[in-house]
Subunit: 516 residues, 2 copies
């Protein structure tokens, strides 16, 4: 602090001297100060928002914007803006939802969902698809909402999730902002948005809410629980909470225990978001949202979603080719302009890419939902001690839980190959580790309820957020827990964590093979 005090004192001295000089006859030249389009963009966005707000009450324009597909960005993220209640179904649960981390339940909740394919008469062909952090229930286009969904190429006739065979249900998670109850929902007790009075939710709470929906639909057992990223956490949590109701589990680029690196990256995002003066401790719903913080958070997130090798190939050190004032719509022109002098605002294509990703996301998602759901990811931990500290238990019995002791997790013998196709293929090539570290034994103990559920674990070697080591950890823990039907794949490629949104051939192929 001393440095600042002294610097400021020196500067102020300079300025007072300057004032004296100016008042006499010796005016120093006043060079023009530089301007920064990449910073001005925040103020310009704020002005646009303010003027939209002021005309919102009478706005036919706002309705137009919300339904005009051209106002949505394309890309791997859901092209979904403000929820349109006609485009999805909802289930309202009027009773309290017990929460993993809170003694006070959520008094009631609504869950938004969409579905694809036909439910069989015996209701035995249901796949529950879980979303990543910011996705909506709109995983694929529907008659009610023809916009492409976030997993458009994976859902449909003959696709990875084959609608000729399966009835697929996808929900917006509790804590989200696309139709399900979250921080932006109205709290009945106050008539105001929950904001940060909303309780901390866990991945287990998201899944329990989904099972209340399944109950309401009369669906007793899932053919499979499928998810990528945070969806993979939910997929594993579904098997743990309801081991008798889940036929198969698919965990893609997920984890059973968030790593400190991933926590660090999400902490950085929450920190920039919560530092935005517009965040106002979460109580911003009657004014402007923290759009700048959201943009900055998304820029950081984007770094974790892709990988260095992809950027080397895609951008290299190419310079942006468009004027700085067009920062919001970067060109991918391959002709750099080496003659343009460098500036403090974006020079390189990689910078305009990040800027654009932030810009196109910052008004599409509720900031509090981002904070709550990223926190839920951080908290996710299926080691036995962590699970024992929760307020929730596997359904059916606490016995499923009490058969394991933390101090002495049951050592699992290496499975003996049998004639079963799955058992033979997996156990032979991937026995569980002989001398596992302590946390892995705790993870195996925690994941014991999943011991009898065939599970596909798929990860990507270039993923820096859910590393390939974490994929191996999930597979090893399941095998140590006695699961002899673990399918395990690692993908190469340069797309990092986002591979699950892009690599239809390899990701889709593994899913199709596992589900068939």
């Amino acid at each position: 602090m001393a440095s600042i005090v002294r610097r400021a004192a020196a500067s102020r001295f300079t300025f007072s001297r300057l004032a004296r000089l100016s008042s006499t006859n010796c005016k120093p030249p006043m060079p023009q100060n530089p301007h920064f389009p990449c910073v001005d963009a925040h103020a310009e966005r704020e002005s646009r928002l303010l003027s939209s707000l002021s005309s919102a009450s009478s706005s036919s324009q706002s309705t137009k914007l919300a339904t005009d597909p051209s106002s949505y960005e394309t890309g791997p993220e859901p092209p979904y803006a403000r929820p349109n209640p006609q485009s999805y179904k909802t289930y309202h649960h009027p009773a309290p939802l017990r929460l993993a981390y809170s003694d006070t339940p959520l008094p009631s909740f609504t869950i938004a969902y969409e579905s694809w394919g036909t439910l069989s008469p015996s209701k035995d062909n249901v796949i529950l698809l879980h979303t990543g952090l910011s996705a909506s229930s709109h995983a694929a286009s529907t008659p009610a909402n023809p916009a492409p969904g976030w997993w458009e190429n994976f859902i449909g006739p003959g696709k990875a999730l084959d609608t000729n065979q399966f009835h697929i249900i996808c929900t917006n998670v509790i804590g989200g902002c696309y139709g399900s109850t979250g921080p932006s929902s109205i709290e009945d007790a106050t008539g105001r948005p929950w904001a940060t009075r909303f309780p901390i939710v866990s991945v287990f709470d998201m899944v329990n809410a989904q099972f209340h929906l399944l109950d309401s639909l009369g669906i007793d057992k899932l053919y499979a629980s499928v998810g990528c990223s945070m969806g993979a956490m939910q997929s594993l949590a579904a098997g743990w909470l309801h081991p008798q109701r889940v036929g198969k589990i698919v965990s893609i680029s997920g984890t059973a225990r968030s790593s400190p690196s991933a926590v660090a990256m999400r902490f950085a995002q929450r920190s920039v978001l919560m530092a935005d003066p517009n965040w106002k401790n979460g109580f911003y719903y009657d004014g402007l949202p923290p759009h700048t913080g959201m943009k900055l958070a998304r820029q950081i997130a984007t770094i974790t979603y892709r990988s260095g090798p992809e950027w080397d190939l895609r951008f290299g050190r190419q310079l942006r080719a468009v004027p700085e004032t067009d920062a919001s719509s970067p060109s991918t022109d391959t002709n750099p302009s080496p003659s343009r002098p460098p500036a403090l605002c974006p020079d390189f294509l990689i910078e305009t890419y990040l800027d654009h990703q932030g810009e196109s996301f910052c008004l599409k998602y509720d900031a509090n939902s981002l904070i709550y759901i990223s926190k839920a990811m951080d908290l996710f931990d299926m080691t036995l001690p962590a699970l024992q500290a929760l307020n929730v238990r596997p359904s059916g019995a606490s016995s499923a839980f009490s058969q394991f002791a933390y101090d002495a997790p049951t050592p699992t013998p290496i499975p003996t190959p049998t004639t079963d196709r799955h058992r033979t293929s997996h156990s032979k090539s991937h026995p569980p580790p002989v001398n596992p570290p302590a946390y892995l034994s705790e993870l195996a103990a925690g994941m014991a309820p999943l011991a009898h559920i065939p599970t596909l674990v798929l990860g990507v070697q270039s993923d820096i957020l859910f590393t390939v080591e974490q994929q191996r950890e999930v597979a090893d823990a399941l095998r140590m827990a006695g699961n002899e039907r673990v399918s395990y794949y690692e993908l190469g490629g340069v797309w990092g964590h986002d591979t699950f949104l892009i690599d239809v051939h390899n990701v889709g192929g593994a899913i199709r093979g596992f589900l068939s």
Copy 2:
């Protein structure tokens, strides 16, 4: 935008309805809103700064703070706050400094430096040590400044840079804020701080300024140019600009060409900093600095300086054990408090670690210096086309430059082993690649002036900022350029980029061996 418009409209409707309700007899309960110590910390810091500012003119306290070592943080970063002109030497260059990216030179400059060991009568034992981004010239303690320096354990009698043998000089770089000319310096033409009127500087400019200092000291030739991180860039740049004046080069955890991933990570830091309302386009010197942006930027930077494996070992998923109100001084108590419910502010030790790193740095370094120097790192590129676009050339001749043609870089034959100890050992085990990619040929062509300078390249496999692939790239390009005296080492370990600050045994050993 539509989503916000509609959300805000809905919220406002709710609030007006609430107002009507309140004005009648039906008041909803008003639960207490949560508070967020990790966010309040920014406002508290701001208050402290404001009150310090208001008492600064008469402040004996500020002087006390600046000289009281207990007011400095310890750790790998320099324990250096506001420059104390008694603790280092300065050289003022009254003539213009030609700049790599600007047609207008820097009119004059001052460079701060410190030195260790005795200069030999023939001045042939000089090592120029280059710093990373935020370090000062205070690499090790001196009689004038007994505080430990940023490379304290590497400089001294018998250490990696042996003061019994060498005279070591370290400068604060041009663009910095520890005594050398930078954005916080007064611009003669206006009598005000340069702020963002300061020209874009490059790593080459930093080095040219250093060579003007060497000229003033009568030092014609360096025994070695040594640097880590951005210091390694300077070390390579010194060899390129002044090939006849550099005896040996040491490049540790550096690069000859910043990668898009590293640009992305630094872009994220600049973005959060420039979005701080206190940044004011860089013209903040008469008021508060962008301390919140600096804290957030440092949090992101810290993620890139260390590595996941270290955090797995050091923090794992341990929870913080201290009350939230003490966020600025996290405990490393190994007893987590699993019974404390999770919160949106830091829960995990990794979060308090990042918070603490940001907090302890945010007032120690000038924000504009951070922006300018991180930009200089992004721009660093020793491929021939990039070098040809600069306003600076290797000294002595443009001939050293013109012997290479971009369109047809001279193919370099694989060196033939000779009886020379260095040549034999390096060329045999590490021939240059047979089919190098185009950029590597361009890099070799650009680095041709370094072909005759023995060079140590050392990198760390867990470094995510200056990856091990980039270390191999530097070594390969030098070999392709015909350099037969490249020493190349990769270190394991979990410390990532910061290894050069920590691993005295391995990093120091490699340097000592190479310099002897």
